[in-house]
Structure formats: structure tokens, C-alpha cells
Symmetry: D3
Subunit: 319 residues, 6 copies
């Protein structure tokens, strides 16, 4: 069972514990001697390690292997680094202590995917508008498997297992509340926009079942999830016989939700529900990034510069 | 009592009713003959009128007078225009039918100022943080008179009687709901930011008790309500002995709430509550502008281009 | 038969000839008297006219009527204007001289639509790639009727009868030549991109059979011809069983042909044929606008400022 | 006594001399052996040094210590580097040769702080306007201690001991001359603006008495020296009973002196003295940066790219 | 002799005085009657006038005629306007009172062209550097005639008789003072840059001997005064045998003096004297525009929006 | 004779072959031992090499030497690297196998310089316009030597031996074809613009006879090839007595060919031939960069990010 996490490592600590191999290579040092260069991780972060004495079995290790190490924490260029004495692959079949909880090794949204999915499904079931309801149900049903693990990004906000569900759920929660204040809004239209807006990320991004993205699909690079989303809504809406005004309004919501052309939206929102969708989206992304930044910041201090927040350094109140 | 409103005027109608004089001048026509050129209004809008035969008493009329007219609605350059036969000042003292409800003549927020003020006051009273509470109470108490009628802008969104209260109240309502979704947020800090963010508009803008702005104050032009607001919070916080961390955070919220330098904020939000404040502000402004645009748009059609919405034409669903 | 054209009118000329009514209204002058305000046009341009004495039959005239006028050319605000004495609707049924050649009244591309269509069709027939060929043939066949008259814009370049065909044809001609110089290019792919790139303008723009646009369709405003074009290619390619690589590349060509996000392309061209498509498009638009500007410019002089050319004034060589 | 300066070091020289420790750390080499990694400096620059054999006493050295070294100058990645044989802390108490002139080790403005301060003070004393005079005197008196050493920046122009005084003095000198040419300017107002414009840098930046900045204060990060300056002028002006027109104009000068929103000024200068202040400021910064760049450039050659000068390479005339 | 100036006209005044015709036309009123539409001016400004009863001799008046009028000042669209009863051409040959001082009618720099020229000439004579001296002398000598009257712009700053000399002189004065503060600058190089920087405006702009620009020359439109200036310096420097380093530095100063590419400078200043030249230029332009704006502004008030000052409204201190 | 090229090297290969030294230095390793650090290249690319054991003769090697090496290919930081056992200078005088074809070592345009020159010369000879013809002949004749090897850039597109000729030739070929489609264009004017547009690159860039640029000339840095080109055309045109309209149009074509101020053109093209010149230029650059990128990309894959193509990754069709 795992006991020490990356975020808790301190200089000069000795470590004997399990990690996941994120990348690994045998390299040649400046004196011509080979060494093992590895990045190890768990759900809290990643750390670089070096093993100066490469053994035969070390050559067999590969990405995503679970390994046990004996190491010492040093510092190099003001970054922590592991000086590894021993490293071996975990063998859960024969070694009881090697039976690991994968949840310790994979960054994941803080809520259970099943429950998030059910919450979203519940919102659909409660819709009054039968067109929007049918469309959302179909989308949720036919993409259920991938939604269970897909991240909402390859890096940046919600790049984690179940990230897309988490992003969608919090936007839905906030969307329902906005409709209580701005009572002229069509609640079902807002919710449908939320459910559809990023759905094609599951075909734009290539990700494995741990929610880790490895890159972009061919269509993702050539068209992007926004235009793919418009095509997808078009196809489903025609199949379901949804009236053209509603169909085009939904396609417009997907198309305009990034708001600015330079962020991928060739049209700006042209009705209130489309406008609201954009602000639900951006507010959720910003809250996520700030929460993440403040998790590792001391009270009364500033975080590192956060690239996705225009390089701002976020402040954590001392109280 | 007023019966016909500007928004209901149609070409070729005859009108006998009361209006407020928005501007008035005797001008010389292209043939050298004088005529009366007047803009008349009520709570629903404004219209230009011409009287081709200027009488002696016409010279005495002035801005903000209540007048009764006999006129015919014509069209000039595809705009409606009144051809006025007679115009006289209302004399409520001697003429019972001239006793008017001022509410018919002044564009106002859709809720009662007293009630909006009480709602906001109630939010303050319920605050747990005694520093924020004391500060907000002081702000509300010492600016109560002006808040009862001040608009939130000289033109654009919330340029109406009670507009600043209305803007503040809806942001508070939405702010409380956002804190239900993003539970790490400090609700009292968000509410305090909302109450303070535009408070100095009452000294930046020159407005009369009908909520109509006539321009900007000297300090308003030289410094603007954002920097004036920072100074105001500084002064109050020092008087009330508020700890410096809280004081500076509140000043930062006021300073950063327009988000982008080119809109007047030299700093971007550096903590989540400041970030949220910006989005509450902009969302309320956008919802207001879209609601206004759609009020005068036919279902299934697009509004005129709205300057404050980047010249977008807003669509009204046909349903 | 028409004898005098708008571009030939000079101050103080007397005019007795036929024009098309572009817009018409009875207005009230500053002295309260009604007058007829009309814009008249032919294939060479438009001019404003006033008739100070409105007759009964004048009220019956409407947009797109052909009229005969007796008028004098005056100048107002340094623009020519017609002072109309008489105006009457043309009655070709009963009046031989009123039998008009519509070609004199409608701005049209300089080549015959049938011939341009055949040229484009011929390019398709000569394609080696059966997928591209099938797709282009289908597009041409199913849109033949509209292509015969559609403009390529509601205003700006190629806003004329047959403008879309003319734009497409000249791009095809130039595209074939570019492939002679840059021999690595796939000629059929370039040609297919040219034929598809603006095809959805026939559904984005509302135009009549004279090639005059009256506005944009609902889907045109909400999505735009670029995204509509991607959806259209997607639908056709799936019907025709075109391999997905080719399908996505063609969709990408349509999506990226405006090059910059602020001009509507969320993706920049990612392969040489897509890059070439953009330059064929922009060069043809620029050549068209410059040719139009120079038509009405004296040798050795500069044109007026041309809005579509960044307000440049174009020079015509004296030679 | 120090004899060799950083700017004079050449490859393959042997060095026995004193330097100040700018940063120091014991690091682990690629073979696992510890070594000492140090940055040494004096008033002319900084250089990296390595000591491959770490002694016990080496662990006791820390930032800002004065040390004596025996070393050889080598080159690494086309940068000079010291290969240190011996290093020891200076002990002026017991070792006469270790008594050092701190001026050799700290980058400082080229004039004496006392004299610069007196010059500025003299300008204040000669003011005719009693309001501006009282304000400036108070500012100079209550900030005298910090002004004696504060830099004008944490890096970039005038980041040196006494830099803020030097920047202020040269701007004052130039300001007086500009008023000779543009005779309508109010000389006292210009001078007051110069003295106030950057004064809050002494609270925005954290610096030690050697004029070296270590970062920004909490208020500095949240509000910045411009807004802090406005608040400071406001407070002082109210204390001194300065008329509101003058007070607001001075606050506006501080607020607008960076000219562009993206550089921190939400308002542009609205009167000539505010306009002049901006140009005095930027010209002094540019002259400083160019002078610094040319100090280390050969005649007839170009400097390195200077980041604060938009990455320009500055040319030094050969003559 | 002229007694009343345009800037002193007030509503309802009666005027009998001389003005210069700036433009004139016989137009047709909305009732079909001809009237005379004229713009009259003097050195303080311009005003529109109408004469409703056109006489035969009125047709003979033309631009730049000096006329005497009898008129009444009215207001139209909140602008003053002259209602002209009589207008006649001045006949100085036969009418003693018609002998006018042209200086009353032409906007001119506030100093005598001869004296400004001599000042500039004196600066050249005092140069130590014989190359720069020879070059400047040649430039002044061969362009003396045009310099006596040329404006520095067709509109905007220094668009007045002698404007180019005035702009050059004040920049020279300020340049000499800047060299007193920044003592490393080469004074002769700065002065030479000032004298050359705008010299080709006399070939870029078409202007008459009253300093009024009528447009741009062919070469001015195609190349602009900056590039024309580079060519001119090149030609002269080769003729005079000036060393290439100096020649290229001077060409660079001319090329870079607008600083930003979008204002016409493809290169930014690459040495201190070129940098200074830019700031001398822009400061003089800004001071000129602000002085002009404040001339017609009441103390304690704001000017109209000034286009050349980014639409700022400039404040005039009340004192 | 060379057998293995840089682009063909693979990890763990042994190499015995000739390369050109691109840069060389003896450096000190982290353990204090010297080693040889060298960049070796041929016409297909460059690779870094290390020799850990520095011999006496190694010190004599210098840039541009031809060397023979015995080495092993390793990988460092995911880049290939040579571990060199032996290195010696080629001695063609005494060693037959050391007689090398320089074409194997220098990146060059794919066509013979003589043939490209002759093609361009032929275009000139065929011109009808005697002015353009004379000008182009003179330019070609007097710059023939440099044109034989000059690159068109110091890096980026056409940075190769004969690159300027290749760029010019392909633009001429495409220009002639564009004139077939847009028949109003003056073919001789287009061709002359192409020949002149970049000609001063041979004085802006410092390059050796292998077409390798080492930097920029003094005039190149101060003025740039565009402004230098304008001066050059001016000088030649005056010598040849070319009419001023033609001269200024050609200077304008050179000046405007980068189109945007931020890319060095202070004027945008003002006639069709100048407009076409820009598009010929940019299309040729883009085609070159894409062709280069795709040479080293697998079918069905994306290239690395290409800096000159806005960091796009270019796709190579699988087919």
C-alpha cells in the first residue's frame, strides 16, 4: 500500500514506496556512462529520478509500469530529484504488498464518475422540452463509456480522470442557479448547451482509461472539438427530427461558446442562453485552475505563475 | 393622466397627451423661418418633435418641463417624428388632469428602490465577518440618499433610476448562488466586493434625482470610479480599523473588477473572490443589455445592432 | 431602349430614360409638404432622385419596378441628384419602347453563366481522382440552378449576378497554373477546394435571381457559410463513401480558407493545397476590387478610398 | 583592497581577489559528488563559480558575505566561469587587507545620494506655489531615509543604489529646461509631478540598504506603485489642506504617467504638465538603458539585445 | 481694416467686416430655390454662411477672394452660422478701406519666418562637426524659399504658414537642452537629425504660399516623406563626400523618427540620438495640439475631443 | 567520397565518413577535464559531436574545415549525438579519397545557378517595355557574381546557396501565369517588380560563397533591404533616364512588397501589379517552407512545429 505521496517529498528524505512510471530512458552521462532517467508519479504530482548504476532488469521497465523504489531525495537546479538505489516492477500476482489501489496513482476528479453521470442524467430527465431532453439523453447514452473517464483537456483545467463529467456537472449546477436570478432564461436550453458544448472532446483528444491524454486525433487537429460538435449536433438533431430553429440555436451555442475568434469561435453568442453558456464555461475553468493553484500555496503567500491564468500568481488569504 | 407611451406611437396617429421635455431649442429653418425643435420622452423612450409656428409662450419652455401636446405622428428619415400643433406646460396646481405620476416619465429599474436597498442591507446584516459587515453597513448608511435614485451608468447598461441598486442586487443574488457551487469561496468577501465595486459611480457621474446622468464630475474624469473606489475603501477601512490584509484585498477587488487594462483595471484579479466579482459584473451587464434589446424585438427576428454588445444583433426565439 | 447610364450622368444634364427603382418612399419635407424620395439604378450604379410634387400614381411605385423619368441633374452635398419632373412605370405589354433588356439594369459578371458553369464542369470531368470528381459533380449538379445567378457576396467583391461562378472560375484557372510551378501540389485537391470553398454562400445569403442580395438567412447568421460548408461536405462525403482522410482534409480546406480567426477560420491551413486555396481566394478578391476601382478612375489619378481594400486609394497608371 | 573587477575578467586569467556572494548552494554533480555552486559579484557585474572539492567551512558561507578567492577563469557554454581553488570569508576585524570599500561591491548611481537629495530639495525650496512646495517638502522629509538608497526598479532601468533619486533628479533637470521652451507650462506643477510620480516604489518594492530589490510587497503586488501613489497624494493633500483642483490634478499626474492602460495607467494625461511628465519619465529610462548598453559595447559595434528596449541592439558610433 | 474675428463671433451679433472665402458654391435648397453656401475664414478660424437671395455678381466669387459682408449670426445644429444680407469682393485698388493686412486672414506660426530661419541657420553655423554642418547648410540654402511658408502637415499639428520652421525651431531649442542633461549625446548629430527629419514634407505635401495644403504629391502618396527623406540625405551625403557611417546614421534617424512601424518607421531608433529625435518630435507635436486646444477652452473646463490626441478632452486649470 | 549523410544517421550506428566543421571548441567538462565540442554538417543537416580525449592536432581544427571522423551515434536529451573516437582534417592534395564534391556539404537550391540566371535573363530580354528591360538587364549584369551564390535569407525560407535566384525564378514563373488569368496586368511591370524586390538582400546580408549567411551588414541593420532597394532603384532609374512615373511605381513596389508595416512596408500596394508582387512573394515563401517541412515528415503524420509558419505542424497526406 502506498504511504508517501509526491507532494509530501522533502529534501534529504529517504523513500521506500510505490510510484507509476510516467516516462523512462537509459541515457549516456557526460562521462560516457549510462544511467537510468525516469519520471515517477502518483495522483499528487510527478518527480524526476536518476539511477546511476543501470541493471539488466532496468531495461525492461516501461511507461505506466507500477514500481517500488528505494531512493534519497536530493535537489538539483532548485527542483527535488530522486537518487534511486533500487527500482523493481510491482508483481501483485505473487506479492501481497504489491496489490495497489490505482486511485492513488491517477489524478482524478474529486467526485465519483457514476454519481456525476447520474446527476447530469437526472437534469435531462427533468427537462420539460421534449426535443432537448431526447437529444441530451441520446448524447449521454451513446457516450457513457468514454464519459466515465475522459478528461476535459489534454493539459490545463480538468485534465484528469472524469474531468469532463466534473466540468459539465459544476456548470449545470451553476447554470440552474443563474436561471433563478435571470428568470427570462430558458433553463432547458442552458442545460442542453452545457451538456453538448465540449462533448466532442472525447473524439478530439486521444486519452486512455486513466484519463491521461496522449495527444489529438487527426480530425481533432484538422477541425477541433467546436466544429466537430456542430456537425455532431446537426447529425443527431436531424435523426431525432428536432425543429430547425432549435437545431441551429444549439449548433450556434456550441460554435460560439469560446466567445472570441482567436479562441476558436467564429461567431459570438447571439442570444442570452448562448451568452450564459460562455460565462458558465469560463468561470468553471478559472475556479478549477485557482483551486488547483491554491492547494499547493501557503496561506499569506502567492502561487507560482499559472500559465492558464495569464501567468498570474494567485494569492491565498492568511485569515 | 398619461395614456399613450412613446414605444406605442405609430405613423399617422394623432396624439393628445403629456410628455417630459428632454431638450428644447428654437431654430432657424432653411428658409429663414424659426421653428421649435424639441425632444419629448417618457419612461419608454424618446421622440423628436417640430412645431413650425412658434408662439410667444413656447420660448418659456425648458428641459424637464412636463408638457401637454396635440400632434400628428409622421416619419422622417425612417424615424418617427411628431408634427406638433399645440404645446403647453402642465399646471398641476390649477388643472386636475395635469396631476401626473412621475413614474410614467422616468425610465426606472423594475423593482422598488426601498426594497432593493433593504435586500442589500439584509445581506450585510447576515454577514459573519464583522469587518466586512461594518464596512458595508457604513457604505450603505452614508450613501443611502443617492443610492435611492442613482443610475449605474450615464448611458449603456443600467442607465436608469435605481439602476445602481438593481445592478448590485442581482449581482448579490447571483454571487450567493455561485458560492453554493464553488464552496471554497468566502461568501462575505464576494458580497462585500459586489457592494463596493461601483459605489463611487455616485461621485463619478453627475445625475439628478430622476436617475438621469448629465455628465461626469471633475474627479470622475481625472481619476474614474475605480481609482476613486480604491481611495474610498482605503479611507473607510482605516477609520474602522480593518486589518490591512482584508483592506488591501478589498481595494484590489475594486481595482481589478474590469479585468483588462484597456477597460480600466491596471491589475487582473489575484484571488478567486476577485475573479468571481468580475464575472458577476459582466454577466449582469450582458443580461441587462440583452433583455433590453429583446423587449423591442419580434419573436423569430433579430434586434438592431447593440453597441454595448460589440454591435451584435440579438435573436429572439420564435418558440 | 436604355441610352444613358448612371455612370455617364453629368451636372446640369437633362435625362429622359429608363431606370430600375432600388428604393422608394414618400417623405415629409421640412416645411411639412410631402415629396417622393427614390433611388434609381442600372448596371453601372445608383443615384438619388427627388420629386417635389407627388402625384397619386407615384404612391403605387415600388422596389424593382422599371420606370421612365424626365429629370434634371443637380448637385447636393457634392453628390449628383436627379430633380424629377415626371416618373411612370414601364408597361412593356402595351408600349413597344418600354421593352427593356434586363441586362442593362442588373450588375453582372462579364462572362456568360452557362459558359462559366461548363468550364468548371469540364475541370471536374478531367479529374483523375474519382472521389474528388464524384463529390464535385454532385455539388455542381445539385446546385446548378442557384449557381446560375448567385453573387459571391451581399456587398463587396463579386456582389453581382453570376459572381460566385466568376469567382470560382478565375480561381480554378489560376489554381491550375500554380500547380504547374509548384509541381508537388495535388491539382485535383486544389480544384476541389476551390469548388467547395464558398458553395454554402448560396444558403448563407438571401439573393434573388438578379443576383441581388437582400440579407442573410437564419442559419447564415447563426453559423456562417464556412461552418455550413464543413457540414455540407461532411454529409456529401459520407453519402458518397469518400475515405475519411480525404473527407477531413476537404472539410479542413473549407474551414481554413479565410486563414485568420478574426475572418472566420478557427484553423489555419495545415497542408500546401489548403494554403494555396487561401491565396487563390484572396488574390481573386483583390484583383476584382482593384479592377472595379480602376474602371471609374482617370489615368494618372487615384480612385476614391476603397473600404474593402483597407481604405486604400488605387492608382491608375498614365502610361 | 579590491583590484580586479568582474567586467575585466578574461579567459585563462588567474584571480586572487574579493567578491560579494550573490547566491550560494552545495549541489550534487552528475556523478553524485557534491560541489559548491556560487555566484560572485561586484559593482560591475556577476560571474558564476564552481568549487569541485567542498570543504567544511564552505557550508557556512551565505548570501551577501564578502569572500576572498583563488580561482582560474574558464569558459562554459561561451560564458566565463570561475574554477575556484580556495574561498574564504573576509574577516576585517582581524585581517587588515580584508577591510573593504563597500562601494566596490554594490552597483550604484553615479552621483552621491546626499547631493542628489539636496538638489531635489533645492528645487522644492525655490517653488513659488506654496501648496506644491509644502507637499513636496513633506514627501522628501518623511521618506528621506529610504530615498538615500532605494532603486527605481527591481530590475531594468535604475535598479541600483540611489537609482530612484538619480531618476528623479535627471527628470527634474530636464523638466526645468522643457519649461524654458514651452513657456506656457507651470514649472512648479511639472516638478511636483516628477517628485511624486514614483515615490511609492519605496513601498511597492522590497529592497535592502544596498539598493538591491528582493521582490514586491503585498500591497505592491495587489495595487502597484501608481495606485498607491494616488492614495498617498490624496492623504497628504487632505492633511495639508491643498485645494481639491490641485489635489486631483496631482493624483491624475501620478495615475497617468505610464500613459497606456497596458502599462498601468487607466487614464491618459489630460493637461500639458501631465503629458510632459510622461515624456520626461520615458526619455530618462531610455537614456539610462542605452547608456548602460553602450558602456559594454565596442565602438563601431552593436550591443546585445536589450530586453527593456524591445530587444533592440544598440549601436555605438565609431567616430 | 479687419475688426471682428471668427473666434469672437457670438449668436445674434450683427457683422460688417472682411473675410477670406475658403469655399463657395451655389446650391439648390429643398424647395428648389438657389442659395449661396460659403465658408468664410480668417486667421482665427472658419464659419459657414448662407445667402438666400443669390445675386448675379455672387456667381463670380471664388476661393481665396477677400470679401466684405453684412450678416447676422444665427445658430444651426448648435453651430454658429452667418445669415448674409450682402457680400462683395474687396477692391483695394479703388477702395482705401479694402486694403487689408493678409496676416489677419491666414493662420500662421507665432514667430517671423525670417527670424526662425535665422535661428536654425545659426545653430548650423555653430556646429563643430564639418560634415553635419555642410549638410545642414546645403539643406537650408537650397530649400529656403519653400521653408519660408511651408506648413508641417496638411492638417493636424503645425498645419499653418511657417509651421515647418516653427516645429523645427522648437525641437532644436529643446534638443540643445536635452544635451545639457544627457551629456553623452552628440549635440551636432541631434541638431542635424532635427533639421532633416521632416524636410521632405515640402515635396510630400502640395501647399500654396499661404501655408495651406491642398493634398499630397504623387511621390508623397507612393513613398511618403520618410522614405523620400532617406533618399534625399543619401543623395546629398554622396555629393558632399560625407563618410558612410555618418550618412547611414542620418538616414536611419530620418527612417526611425516615427518609432513604430504602423506610423511609418520600419526601424526603431538604434542609438541614443535617434531615440532623442523621436521624443523631441512627438513632444513638440503634443504641446502644439494642447496649446491650440486650450486657447479656446474656458479655465476650469475641458476642451472638445481632440482627434490628434486620441480623442482626449484637455483640461484648462482654473487657478 | 562521402557516403553517409546526416539525415540518414540512426542511433547506435558506427560512422566513418567526411563532414564539414560548422563550429568547434575545446570545453571543460563538469569534472574539469577538457573535451572537444563540435558541430558537423553536410547538405542534409547538422549534428553535434563530442570527443572526450582531446589530442594536440584537434586544437588546429577550425570552422569550414573538411574532416574525416570515426564515431558512434548515441542519443542525448532525445537528440542524436556523435561520440567521436578519431577526427582528422581532409588532405585532398595527398590523399585521393579526401578529394570531395563540395556539393555534398553545402545546402543548395535544387537547380543550377547558371540555368536559373539564364531563365531570368531570358524574361528580361523578352520584355516589350524598353525602360523596364534596361533596368532589369543592368541589375542582373552588375550583380551577377553575387547572385550566383546568394541565399534569400540568413535563416528561414531560401537560406541556401542560390536561394535568391531560386526564389526569383519561381516567382517569375508564377507571375507570368497570373498575368494570363488577370489579363489587365502589365506583365513587364510584374516581372520587373519580382526581379527588383529582394535584390538588396545581397548587401543587407553578409554571406560567403557557399550561400551561408554570417549576419547583417551595418547598412542592413540600420535601413534594411527594402529601403536600400528603394534607394538603389532610384539611383539606377535616374542614371538610365527612366520616366518618373515608372521610377516611382517601381520604388513603391519594392517599398510595399511586405504589405504590412510591422513586416517592414510603410505603404500598402497602391496598384494591381504591386498587389500581385506581394502575393507572389508570400506564396513562394510558404510553398518553400512547407516543401522543406514535408521532406522529413512521414506520410499520414504531422511535421514538427515550423516557426516561420506560425508554429503550425504541417500534415503529409497518406494517400
Amino acid at each position: 500500500m502506498k504511504q508517501v505521496f509526491v507532494k509530501d517529498l522533502k529534501k534529504e528524505m529517504d523513500v521506500i514506496d510505490f510510484f507509476m512510471v510516467k516516462s523512462i530512458a537509459v541515457k549516456t552521462g557526460s562521462t560516457g556512462k549510462p544511467y537510468l532517467d525516469v519520471i515517477l508519479g502518483d495522483k499528487t504530482g510527478e518527480i524526476n529520478g536518476k539511477k546511476w548504476d543501470v541493471g539488466t532488469s532496468d531495461h525492461l521497465l516501461k511507461e505506466k509500469d507500477m514500481v517500488k523504489i528505494i531512493a534519497h531525495v536530493t535537489e538539483f537546479n532548485s527542483q527535488l530529484q530522486l537518487k534511486i538505489q533500487r527500482i523493481r516492477k510491482a508483481v501483485p500476482e505473487s506479492n501481497p504488498e504489491d496489490i495497489l489501489d490505482m486511485g492513488d496513482f491517477v489524478k482524478a476528479a474529486p467526485e465519483d464518475p457514476e454519481e456525476m453521470y447520474d446527476y447530469i442524467y437526472g437534469v435531462c430527465e427533468s427537462m420539460d422540452d421534449q426535443d432537448y431532453k431526447a437529444l441530451c439523453m441520446k448524447v449521454l447514452n451513446e457516450n457513457r463509456d468514454k464519459l466515465m473517464y475522459y478528461p476535459a483537456a489534454s493539459k490545463n483545467h480538468h485534465a484528469e480522470l472524469g474531468g469532463l463529467l466534473y466540468h459539465t456537472k459544476r456548470m449545470l449546477m451553476n447554470g440552474e442557479r443563474v436561471c433563478e436570478v435571470y428568470t427570462g432564461l430558458n433553463r432547458d436550453l442552458v442545460s442542453t448547451g452545457v451538456i453538448l458544448h465540449d462533448i466532442q472532446k472525447i473524439f478530439e483528444i486521444d486519452a486512455d482509461t486513466d484519463g491521461m491524454a496522449s495527444g489529438y486525433s487527426f480530425e481533432g487537429q484538422m477541425l477541433g472539438h467546436i466544429v466537430m460538435g456542430v456537425k455532431y449536433v446537426d447529425k443527431l438533431a436531424l435523426e431525432l427530427g428536432i425543429p430547425s430553429e432549435k437545431r441551429i440555436m444549439l449548433e450556434h451555442m456550441v460554435l460560439s461558446h469560446h466567445y472570441e475568434p482567436e479562441f476558436g469561435s467564429p461567431k459570438k453568442p447571439l442570444f442570452p442562453e448562448a451568452e450564459v453558456l460562455h460565462y458558465l464555461d469560463i468561470l468553471d475553468a478559472r475556479m478549477y485552475d485557482m483551486e488547483e493553484a491554491l492547494k499547493v500555496t501557503e496561506p499569506g503567500g502567492f502561487s507560482d505563475r499559472i500559465w492558464t491564468l495569464d501567468n498570474r500568481r494567485i494569492y491565498k488569504q492568511e485569515r
